[in-house]
């Protein structure tokens, strides 16, 4: 545990710390050896003035009155910092407090961080995402051509995409799919969440063939505008698997499946342990369908969710471990969110996952000004935006590497291995293995192609 020690050493030592005209003595000279404390030698001792009542006769121990502050050497104290072992902290602090008479105060020294983005204004815009994510891929010609990218969501509006992107956009209607009762034409859905997701994928992989799978379009009485049932997703996955299986395995093209959705509440599920449960049960039909589609050669990505501890979405109802069901499936890439400066957004769900503990896998950009799907001032936000950005990265890599060249499992390994470590060293439950790093991905692909050319 890190600590701040307030000390009152000899008066001449305090005077040397206060005097701006002399070199401040090092912490070791101010504090000397203190048993049980690893003194931080790099921290320059800081003088602290003593508060005193402003009026004669005031309570010398009260801070609830007018005060004056004395920096006189006989009044001031000095702060140093250090660390005690985390084991049995209470006993160690107690021993420290009585170890030396010149220690007059001990307080914790917590890690301070900026408050993460929780909502509100965008941080940067989609051109920042291009700069951070796309440019390296583009310089290698990795733009998603001949790769299909399925947006399983609320439907896509291509006119809106074209307006914001400044060039024509289209969906591949022949390979798209919709649930029974959804009547709009592919690519002609109202501008909403699905359009945002398509836009965010196109930022990275401009030449992909977009497949429109509006699973979250309500077609049932009483449902809200943006919700669906998991059974619709099962049917959508059967369609995608059939697309792949219509082609011999050795000729299968890349198919990337972006899923920026999930279940917010255990109240819509059987409890964990029940054989019909979804959230914690790899044998649920949808979780089996995910495994079967991945096995056929698809790269599947899921948003980690918006139930991060700092500022969870108001709909989050899981008391803990909110990355549930397929969002935590071992055969998908589970995507957390960071802003365009690389700082984790506070709503991004943290692991461990329920089907697979090491979730999320990676993080990438969200909360930027992009598609304007929710209005000109609203950011593309949520892990909903991060997931298609990551899907665009996968689609870009698939431009050159088919599933036969690099299996979906090895694709996930590539993205994890090249990610920029963030947060604590190594894997953590905030960022997974780190923030997607397209420069490192490109470098890995160059090494791979050199190796392949030699062998």
């Amino acid at each position: 545990m890190r600590l701040i020690l307030q000390m009152r050493p000899e008066r001449d030592v305090v005077a040397a710390v206060i005097d701006p005209h002399v070199t401040t003595p090092p912490a070791a000279d101010v504090a000397g050896p203190i048993p049980g404390l690893a003194l931080d030698a790099a921290f320059t001792p800081v003088p602290v003035p003593q508060p005193r009542p402003a009026t004669p006769g005031g309570d010398p121990l009260s801070l609830e009155q007018p005060l004056v502050f004395s920096m006189a050497p006989e009044d001031a104290s000095v702060l140093v910092r250090g660390e005690v072992q985390d084991y049995d902290v209470a006993s160690r602090l107690s021993a420290l407090a009585t170890a030396r008479p010149d220690i007059v105060g001990i307080s914790s020294d917590p890690v301070v961080e900026t408050m993460p983005v929780c909502g509100g204004a965008p941080v940067g815009d989609w051109h920042d995402v291009e700069h951070a994510v796309t440019d390296e891929l583009k310089s290698e010609g990795l733009d998603g051509r001949n790769v299909a990218l399925a947006v399983v969501d609320t439907g896509i509006n291509v006119d809106h995409l074209g307006q914001v992107l400044g060039s024509t956009a289209a969906v591949d209607a022949e390979r798209s799919w919709k649930p029974a009762g959804v009547n709009e034409a592919f690519g002609r859905f109202p501008v909403a969440h699905g359009t945002m997701c398509a836009f965010d994928a196109l930022i990275v992989a401009r030449r992909v063939a977009l497949l429109d799978l509006p699973v979250l379009r309500a077609a049932r009485q009483g449902a809200t505008v943006m919700e669906g049932l998991l059974s619709d997703a099962i049917a959508a996955y059967a369609h995608l698997r059939a697309l792949l299986e219509a082609v011999p395995p050795e000729q299968r093209p890349g198919l990337v499946v972006s899923n920026s959705w999930g279940s917010y509440s255990p109240r819509w599920d059987f409890p964990p342990g029940h054989p019909g449960n979804y959230s914690d049960n790899r044998a649920h039909p949808f979780n089996l369908a995910v495994a079967a589609l991945e096995n056929a050669g698809a790269d599947i990505l899921f948003a980690a969710g918006n139930c991060g501890r700092d500022c969870p979405d108001g709909r989050c109802a899981y008391p803990d471990r909110p990355i549930t069901g397929a969002n935590s499936h071992p055969r998908v890439l589970s995507v957390a969110g960071v802003d365009t400066r690389g700082a984790r957004v506070g709503y991004s769900s943290q692991g461990p996952g329920r089907l697979s503990q090491r979730k999320p896998d990676v993080a990438t950009c969200t909360h930027f000004a992009g598609s304007q799907a929710f209005g000109p001032d609203s950011p593309d936000s949520g892990t909903s935006a991060a997931c298609p950005v990551a899907a665009g990265v996968v689609a870009a890599v698939r431009t050159r590497l088919s599933p036969q060249d690099l299996s979906p499992a090895r694709m996930r390994t590539l993205l994890r291995r090249t990610a920029n470590d963030a947060g604590v060293a190594g894997f953590d439950y905030d960022h997974g293995y780190g923030i997607l790093n397209t420069a490192a991905i490109v470098e890995a692909l160059r090494r791979r192609s050199k190796h392949t050319a030699r062998s």
């Binding site: 929780c118 909502g119 969501d153 609320t154 029974a180 009762g181 969440h193 699973v215 979250l216 009485q221 449902a223 943006m226 919700e227 669906g228 049932l229 998991l230 059974s231 997703a233 099962i234 049917a235 059967a238 698997r241 059939a242 920026s260 959705w261 999930g262 279940s263 917010y264 509440s265 109240r267 819509w268 599920d269 059987f270 054989p275 979804y278 649920h284 039909p285 089996l288 369908a289 495994a291 079967a292 948003a303 918006n306 500022c311 979405d313 108001g314 709909r315 109802a317 957004v345 506070g346 709503y347 909360h367 609203s378 950011p379 593309d380 936000s381 949520g382 892990t383 909903s384 935006a385």
Partner: protein, 98 residues
């Protein structure tokens, strides 16, 4: 199946290429007990596993038949965005099986 019927998601093992009619015959299900709009959906060809939606009553009746599993949860699914950290909970009803 009547509109608005409460449904159950079940799975059944059938030969490759099976149809909804094959599933109905195998499980003894009448036309008004299955969701024909949903149909018979292949989940995993390696396991010859299919899904279908049936009425809750039919789901209870076929439970335990050989090769049949379920009912499974059919939870509502929602987009993970836009970020709405200030929302109040708005779960709607508690329909577990859809």
């Amino acid at each position: 199946m009547a509109p608005g019927s409460r449904t159950a998601l079940v799975t059944v093992t059938l030969p490759p290429g099976s149809t909804l009619q094959d599933a109905q015959r195998r499980l003894g299900l009448a036309d008004d007990e299955v969701d024909a709009g949903y149909g018979l959906v292949s989940i995993d060809p390696a396991r010859n596993l299919f899904a279908l939606m049936v009425t809750e009553e039919a789901g209870s009746r076929i439970k335990g038949l050989p090769g049949t599993q379920g009912p499974y949860a059919n939870p509502r699914i929602h987009p993970f965005g836009p970020a709405r950290p200030d929302d109040e909970c708005g779960d709607g009803d508690d329909d577990t099986t859809g």
